[in-house]
Structures are given as structure tokens and as C-alpha cells.
């Protein structure tokens, strides 16, 4: 059996697999856990991974089933089974993409269950020690904004991880990427602003009221509803995000001039 301790944001994950190739991919994609953390505490999630499952996904629809205290998430290319606290899980996957998506499914459920935070469809760029989120559905321009913002550090280009435990929302380097590569920097960065993206012929930045943000951000959260009692936790987390992070509609051209409106 091959094993590894990895870390996503503050969460320690123990991964095991019979397949060396699978573990090699995990070690490459995810930050190795700090040995001090491994020695000091138990993992937040214990995960077993196997490959050879299913076929390439034709759609990203996930079927979810609950049996007593077990949850099963099924897609063409992965089968994820977990306890209802999202701490002990096994996943069978078709390929690396499936493994990535199955882990996103598990991780987002884990952080919502614990009221820790949210995974948002957003890129996150660091400017002056502050993280700025740029959210939108596929095709809205998250990766484009990340690319246009270089050489500023990119913490995420697809799925931003936001901790909402305290009064100051924090964001972390996200391993769930589409075009860029993780920095593996373990330090959290305070979130300074959140933008809902619209590609446009002109540049503009208009404030969004907190109540409107909650309404509009709900469909930009990475979350696969499995249990209504869990799903309902999203509203308090989105409320906290809206309360503490100024939000804007950002109309941007394909250049980096939008930063003049932010800085």
C-alpha cells in the first residue's frame, strides 16, 4: 500500500492507494503535509483511492444517494463513498480528472459540513498582500483574469478556497486548477474583495449590496447537494462572506486595466 499525507488549506488528508501511479499523481498535485502537523494531530480526512473505474464523463452531473450515515456520489468517471461527516472516504476513479473532481466534491462537502468555509467558482489574485476573488460560471473569464493579472501571484484560477471561521475571511493556495499550477504556499491571505465577472467593451466596477451578493453567489459555490440539512448551511456561510467582503460587478476588457479600478 502506498500512502501520503497531503494538505489542502488547513486540512490534513491521509491518502492511501494500492497503485503507485495514482499516488505519484497525488504527490505531484497536492502540497505535502507539514511533518509537524502530521505528528501533532489526526488527519481531517482519511481517503482511499483506486483507479480503473467507469468511463470518461459525458456530463458532470453527479448522482447522490444517502443510506443511513453513508453517502455515495456517482458520476460516469468516479464513485465516491463517504461517511456523513466527510472524514472517511473511498473513491474509485477513471483518470486524473475524475480524481481531481471527486476530491473537490469531498473537500467542499467537508468544509461546509464543519462550517469552515466555501469553495467558490473563482480565480484569486494577490495584490499587495490581499487576495481578490473573481467569480463566475465557466466561460465568464476566471482563467483569463488570472492570466491577464500576471506576474501577480495566482492562488486559484478555477476553485477558490475561502475560510469563513473568523471575522476576517481568508483564502489559500488552491490545488484545484485549470490552467495554472499551485504555489504550495501554506500561508493564508486575507480576502480583500470579490468581483462577479462580465467581459465587456468597457471597464467598470460597481458595488453589489451584501444581500444581492448572497443571492447571486449561491450558484457559484462548488457544492453537490446530498443532504438538505447540510445544504442549508450554505446560506449562513454565504451571508458571512457577504458581510465581511466588499463585492462588485466587474466589467473587464481582455487587458489588465481593470486593476486600476481595484488598486
Amino acid at each position: 500500500m502506498h500512502t501520503a499525507y497531503i494538505q489542502i488549506a488547513k486540512h490534513l488528508i491521509f491518502v492511501s492507494s494500492r497503485e503507485e501511479e495514482t499516488m505519484a499523481w497525488i504527490r505531484e498535485q497536492f502540497r505535502p503535509a507539514d511533518p509537524g502537523e502530521v505528528a501533532a494531530r489526526l488527519p481531517d480526512i482519511i481517503l482511499r483511492v483506486s483507479s480503473g473505474y467507469g468511463k470518461p464523463a459525458e456530463t458532470f452531473n453527479v448522482q447522490v444517494r444517502r443510506d443511513d450515515n453513508r453517502l455515495t456520489y456517482r458520476r460516469d468517471d468516479f464513485l465516491l463513498e463517504t461517511d456523513d461527516r466527510y472524514t472517511r472516504a473511498s473513491m474509485a476513479v477513471h483518470d486524473d480528472t475524475a480524481l481531481n473532481h471527486a476530491l473537490m466534491t469531498l473537500y467542499s462537502a467537508h468544509i461546509v459540513h464543519n462550517g469552515w468555509g466555501l469553495m467558490i467558482h473563482a480565480s484569486c489574485i494577490v495584490q499587495g498582500g490581499t487576495g481578490h476573488l473573481f467569480a463566475g460560471q465557466s466561460g465568464a473569464g476566471k482563467s483569463t483574469v488570472a492570466m491577464l493579472s500576471r506576474p501577480r501571484p495566482v492562488l486559484s484560477d478555477e476553485a477558490a478556497i475561502v475560510c469563513l471561521e473568523g471575522d476576517r475571511p481568508l483564502t489559500f493556495d488552491s490545488p484545484f486548477r485549470s490552467d495554472s499550477v499551485p504555489t504550495f504556499d501554506p500561508e493564508p491571505i486575507p480576502v480583500g474583495s470579490l468581483h462577479l465577472l462580465t467581459q465587456s467593451l468597457f471597464i467598470d466596477r460597481r458595488p453589489i449590496r451584501p444581500s444581492e451578493l448572497v443571492y447571486r453567489i449561491m450558484d457559484k459555490i462548488f457544492y453537490w447537494a446530498a443532504d438538505p440539512a447540510e445544504t442549508v448551511k450554505l446560506i449562513a456561510l454565504c451571508g458571512k462572506l457577504a458581510e465581511h467582503v466588499p463585492a462588485y460587478d466587474l466589467y473587464f476588457q481582455k487587458n489588465d486595466l481593470f486593476w486600476e479600478r481595484i488598486s
Partner: protein
Amino acid sequence: MWKIAVHTDAVELDGEWIVLDGERYVVTRLNETGGFLWNLIKKGATLTMLTEEMAEKYGIPQETAKADIETFIAHLKEIGLIRDAA
């Protein structure tokens, strides 16, 4: 009296209420008056109680308040956020 759908929660921000129905993943926005009524309904208020409270809070005739509340209740029922208590 009415019962709120089992898996709902709401947050209040800048005078509006945002309600999430966790069963159907539907989000509903309520203005300040809607939020005021929603919280009374949650506590088990009857139509008479709602009417009196609303008329007093907003300084409007009870008939006006009652008509508005009936429309609001019908809407909440239609979107599945409440149902008649058995």
C-alpha cells in the same frame, strides 16, 4: 397557522432576507416587510396575529395589511417555503 419547510435557513443583510430551501436548492429574496412576516410565521403566528402586528408596525389599516399578508402567504405556499399546519 403555517409550517415552514423543514430544511430552510435565512440570513438578513442590509434590510433584506435571503431564504435558502435546502431541499430544492432554491433561494428566495424577501424585502424588509417580507422578512418581518417570515419571522412571525416561523414563530407560529396566525393570520390574525400577523395582521395586527403588520398594521401596527407600518401604521396601515388592518384590511390592507390582511390583504397583503394573504397575497404573501399564497406566494410562499406556491414556492414551497410554507404549508398549512395540519
